[in-house]
Amino acid sequence: MSTSPNKKININKRYSLIFVVIAVLVFSFLYAAGLFGNKDVTAQDFVNLQQSAKPYFGFRRAHAKGVCLQGEFIANGALAPFSQSSLFQAGSNTFTGRFSIAGNNPLAPDLAAPVRSFALSFTTTDGEHWRTGMNTPPVVAVRTPEAFFEQLTALSPDPATGKPDPSKIKAFFQAHPESATFNHWKQQYQATSSFATEQYHSINAFYLIDAKGQRRAARWAAVPQATDKQPENAIANAGPDALQLELAARLAQQPVKFDLMFTLANQTDDETDPTVLWPDDREQVNAGTLVITQWQAQQDGTCNGITFDPLVLPKGIEATKDPILNARGAAYAESYRRRAKETLLQQTNQPQQGAH
């Protein structure tokens, strides 16, 4: 090797250069990974808030209490002109589903929850997947994950009193006039005595993609076929698992059915805003019937391994730029990561008995 005269003089400079290159690389990676904090609300912040200080290990961090379902979707073909997904061609596909109540507590009394949910997961024979989580309200109160984070913070129990602070809740809703539609729904909503008699909404809009690749924004809802709707106080004395017991009794008699109704947007509707309802005159398409035939307790049930991430979509349905919709993917994955790890390590930290 030749030794140039400059080499010795430059050697310190060269070491410094190497040091700077490596330092910049390492620093920027740790920065990207959020080790120095993150100016935005992250999926981890969200799940920390949702699970509260004492998470229930092994359970979903939101909608923790529920039951697994088994059934099939019988498509009538009416949606096929709007979406190329094989799910909507006349015919049937089985699904794994879940009824749940909002909240992080898998032992919560069924009737105390303000929101009930219905989630579905399909795998088609051509290897496509569709997952959806639907809630009883037709809209959410806010448009962005940041505002949703504020909302959850305002609704969280105050550490001093153990109860949410009404003044904070009031201040939040005043600062967010877009929550009017949600609050109006809340005032007129009457919970029923069965998961089978509620209507569940996708809330977020999606694009249906037809065979030619043309897209049309749409929302969907599971509309109950059961006609025996009763107010929830009919089962007020049935204990903490009142809804689950009612469902079990009902399924022992006959399947539980819903119409899967799609509402198609007009040019004037903003498909990225989950706080507004579209006018009543929008085109409705009944895509077919969801037929639930079986249920199982969730922890060993077929739905336990599934995260109902609404961004898992088949060819023929695409996500819109709705910020709430797009925020759900990373948050659901974080919740899944945590409960999967706890399940693997068999970690428990709360009384499990009675948990379904």
Binding site: M1, K7, I11, R14, Y15, L17, I18, V21, I22, L25, V26, S28, F29, A32, A33, G34, N38, D40, V41, T42, A43, Q44, F46, S121, T123, G127, E128, H129, P145, N304, G305, I306, T307, L311, V312, K315, A319, K321, P323, N326, A327, G329, A330, A331, A333, E334, Y336, R337, R339, A340, K341, T343, L344, L345
Partner: protein, 180 residues
């Protein structure tokens, strides 16, 4: 066999392409798992697609590597340095293979199919299972962070060869645009 001083152009090309892709994937990976932004969904699709592409690229690279003659290390390197160089290269190749595989298995364990760029559906290697998800999700995290650490060592060593020792090692992987 004639002694060569550089890697063949095909090897250089695949080295720099996979370096670019893998470093981007590392940064993308750690950012996207935190992000609630609207780009997150597209980023994740891209992550899985490029990850699958990296797997193919690394397989081609390894096959290419088996059949090509590579430049010898400088004669004045200590046995320890030779061992470190060889071992770190084996670890790099192993991680580049196992990381995309763990991503693929993680998706299968979650009950999902990997379909790179929407072109084809990769087969499901394992059935859906939440415990398997935990294993492959945590492995994917651990292995990617280990890969980053090994890459830092690799770059430090390459720069040490190029700038301090000024031997043939860094040169052997660089493209030469000037005529010698």
């Amino acid at each position: 066999m004639a002694k060569i001083t550089e890697f063949p152009a095909s090897a250089k090309f695949m080295h720099w392409l996979s370096a670019l892709l893998i470093i981007s994937m590392l940064f993308l990976g750690v950012s996207m798992i935190q992000s609630l932004a609207t780009w997150q969904h597209t980023a994740l699709q891209l992550h899985k697609s490029i990850g699958a592409l990296v797997l193919v690229l690394v397989l081609i690279r390894l096959i290419n590597r088996l059949f090509m003659q590579i430049p010898a290390l400088p004669a004045d390197l200590s046995a320890m340095q030779r061992f470190a160089a060889k071992a770190s290269h084996i670890v790099l190749y192993a991680l580049m293979l196992v990381i995309p595989l763990s991503g693929w298995l993680m998706q299968n364990a979650a009950g999902l199919t990997v379909s790179p760029f929407g072109i084809l559906n990769l087969p499901s290697l394992i059935p859906a299972n939440i415990k398997a998800y935990a294993v492959f999700r945590e492995l994917h995290g651990l292995l990617t962070w280990s890969l980053f650490a090994v890459i830092v060592l690799h770059i430090s060593a390459a720069l040490h060869h190029g700038l301090i020792r000024q031997d043939s090692v860094l040169q052997s992987m660089l493209f030469r645009f000037k005529n010698k």
